[in-house]
């Protein structure tokens, strides 16, 4: 009964919306010209990065907070000393995996730096770079080269929030004379690069943490 009602509602909704969308005229407001004007002042040449870190940088600031909250939520779900969830990492049977990981990890770091740097001009940026680094960390763990995290140490905690704090500081600094996140024009490019570098490291740790905090080596591989 419920199944039928929900399915019918979903189907009806989809049809209603699709039929309405097919006749949707063009919008009156278009942000593209506005954005094009703003790009030269934004400190980066790539429009998506300009939006992410400059015009709508405030969104990104809160988005990092969301990620940190999720990480803390994961930490709550993995209480310290719970034997079921934090066992010693098993070493991989196959020697190929660690060797591969040893090779890939530095490459990943190199690639991440490129993606980060490229973000100013073309597709790429902090988040993508962080995802690559996180993938490398997960790979190292799967290869048995790094342990799963049980509870983050002080150093790790600082690493996890450093990028966020740098971002906060740079966002707050302009308040002395202007608006939140209103970068001084002379420094805008540099500041965005600083923010992105910090975010790359912290986000990589956070993303990896989502996996490494939970990594459970107890079962059969």
């Amino acid at each position: 009964m419920k199944r039928f009602a929900v399915s019918a509602a979903a189907l009806g909704f989809a049809f209603w919306l699709i039929s309405a969308l097919l006749n949707l005229p063009a919008t009156l407001i278009d942000l593209r010209p506005l954005l094009a004007e703003a790009i030269p002042k934004s400190g980066v040449a790539h429009p998506v990065t300009a939006v992410l870190l400059n015009t709508r940088g405030y969104d990104t600031l809160l988005e990092i907070a969301v990620l940190l909250v999720a990480l803390i939520g994961v930490l709550i779900a993995v209480p310290p000393g719970n034997p079921a969830l934090s066992e010693r990492p098993a070493t991989a049977d196959d020697a190929m995996v660690p060797a591969l990981a040893r090779l890939v990890a530095p490459l990943a770091v190199f690639f991440a730096i490129y993606v980060l740097w490229a973000g100013a001009h073309r597709p790429g940026g902090a988040f993508q770079a962080a995802a690559i680094l996180a993938a490398a960390l997960v790979l190292l763990h799967l290869a048995g080269l790094t342990a799963a995290w049980s509870a983050p140490t002080l150093r790790l905690r600082i690493g996890l929030i450093a990028g966020f704090l740098i971002f906060l500081a740079i966002a707050a600094a302009p308040l002395l004379g202007g608006m939140l996140l209103q970068y001084p024009p002379a420094l805008v490019g540099t500041l965005i690069l600083v923010i992105e570098s910090g975010l790359t490291i912290s986000l990589a740790l956070v993303l990896a943490g989502l996996f490494l905090l939970l990594a459970d080596r107890g079962g059969v591989r």
Binding site: L17, N23, I29, L35, V69, I72, G73, M179, L181
Partner: protein, 500 residues
């Protein structure tokens, strides 16, 4: 100097809790209480300053990044936002003082293997940051991010209880929150696709002037956004996730969630419904009102039946939230006298203060007795008089009895309903008050029962003492909910009434 501070109040209300949250996390599990409390006190001052400024000089604006809408994101605080900010900072500060005592007690308890306070401070601080950002944002996509920040932080706090029921409750809450924000996000996508902007300031005139071909899509968008928010607001029948989440969490968490978090999404419903979406949603105003009325009756009934004390308080939240929606159709018709939105805000503030106090008091009682049935509160009048008094004062406000803030709000609501001839609303409001009396006095009369001597002795043996600071923090909240009715009505109604 003051002028400059006011200019800074908007961003600082967001940056301060974000910073203290991050630092509290860095300090490590269970630490950071002083930091968060200090920051919270500072935020309260800023909110007061903001409210004072808005009262005299009108809404306050801040363009993040200096771009201004529609390209950038604007922060705006009007009277309504200022009132909610004030409520949030005030309740949060009192609850943080309460939580410090509460968790301090917890951590000395050796057999409590998962101290719920381990990550309370960063999460709670992130939560407050999210709510502040939500109240100030003027950008519907940015609002989505703030909704997620609030939602995930709240889920994390619910999970911090540690037990299997809490984990299940957290998951149920998470799925409801994600469904809600998903619907909201699709609504945002459709509005952006229809109008090319996510700024409320740009959308409001655009929607009002839009052609029929656009309004169908916009209507779907509006319904999606509102439905998503109603799920998050736990409006009947979307309340299913609330009782386990609010009733099963550690007391400071329950208090934060019930007093503040649900208000955030309700605020957004009101803001959007009475703002940009008004032309689209006007014909549907009776729907939330009927759901709100059902919530009052159903939630009260469940609270009357609840066996567990905190579940009773949680169902009371389901019921009380209904009051915030029944005024929606009344708000559309223009009336002389007090603005309907101001009355709803008064009710929200009164409920926030009272419910925070009640959950805190319930937490202290559970702590002291070690049991959580309503029948177990017998003898509390003797052992915890201050806490019982707190519970009773909070109850007075929830029942809408004078001279509380809840009473004032209820009076004005009835007045408003009568002025528009909505007799059925009057009946629901009166019935809701009487039902509330039934479930609240269920607890109070039980608390006055004498225990046999032997049992008193046994209770004292296992009693865990809650610090006085926690008891007094809870009392301060309850007392404020009463004083609100005597001294808070005029300034609050003027602050909000002038803005919307």
């Amino acid at each position: 100097m003051i002028e400059h501070l006011t200019h800074l109040a908007l961003p600082l209300l967001i940056l301060l809790p974000l910073t203290s949250a991050a630092l509290a996390f860095a300090l490590g599990p269970g630490r950071g209480a002083s930091l968060v409390i200090a920051s919270s006190a500072l935020q309260l001052l800023l909110a007061l300053l903001l409210a004072a400024t808005i009262g005299s000089a009108g809404p306050s604006h801040h363009a993040a990044g200096g771009w201004g809408a529609p390209l950038g994101i604007d922060l705006v605080a009007d009277g309504l936002a200022a009132a909610m900010l004030l409520l949030t900072q005030g309740v949060a500060l009192a609850l943080f003082v309460f939580a410090r005592g509460y968790f301090h007690q917890d951590s000395q308890d050796a057999d409590h293997w998962a101290p719920a306070g381990r990550y309370f401070w960063p999460l709670a601080s992130f939560l407050v940051a999210g709510m502040n950002a939500l109240y100030l944002s003027e950008d519907i996509f940015n609002l989505y991010v703030t909704l997620e920040l609030v939602g995930l932080a709240a889920v994390g706090l619910v999970a911090s209880g540690g037990g299997a029921t809490q984990t299940a409750a957290a998951l149920r809450y998470l799925f409801a929150a994600i469904l809600g924000s998903g619907a909201y996000l699709l609504g945002v996508a459709l509005l952006y696709g229809s109008y090319g902007s996510v700024s409320i300031a740009a959308l409001t005139p655009a929607i009002a002037a839009s052609a029929p071909a656009v309004t169908t899509v916009a209507l779907v968008a509006a319904l999606l956004m509102v439905t998503g928010l109603l799920i998050k607001s736990a409006l009947f029948p979307f309340h299913f996730w609330l009782p386990p989440a609010h009733g099963g969490s550690p007391a400071p968490v329950s208090a934060l969630l019930s007093a503040l978090v649900v208000k955030a999404s309700i605020y957004l419903v009101l803001r959007l419904w009475l703002g940009p979406l008004q032309p689209l949603l006007a014909p549907f105003a009776w729907l939330p009102a009927i759901l709100g009325a059902s919530a009052i009756l159903w939630g009260s009934w469940q609270a009357i039946r609840a066996e567990r004390l905190k579940l009773l308080v949680a169902y009371s939240t389901v019921a009380q939230l209904g009051y915030l929606f029944i005024a929606l159709p009344l708000a559309a018709a223009s009336t002389t006298g007090v603005a309907p939105v101001a009355i709803v805000t008064l009710q929200a503030v009164a409920h926030g203060l009272a419910k925070a106090a009640m959950f805190a008091a319930a937490g202290i009682i559970l702590h002291a007795t070690g049991r959580d049935r309503v029948s177990d509160v017998a003898g509390i009048a003797e052992r915890l008089p201050l806490t019982l008094f707190t519970f009773a004062l909070a109850g007075v406000s929830l029942m809408g009895l004078p001279p509380s803030g809840g009473f004032l709000a209820k009076w004005l609501l009835i007045d408003l309903a009568l002025a528009q001839g909505q007799w059925w609303l009057v009946a629901v409001i009166i019935a809701g008050g009487l039902l509330a009396a039934v479930y609240i006095f269920r607890v109070l009369r039980q608390a006055f029962l004498n225990l046999p001597e032997a049992e008193i002795e046994a209770e004292h043996q296992k009693a865990r003492v809650v610090p006085r600071s926690a008891e007094w923090a809870a009392f301060a909240l309850a007392a404020s909910s009463i004083l609100l009715g005597i001294f808070g009505g005029v300034p609050l109604l003027q602050l909000v009434g002038g803005s919307v």
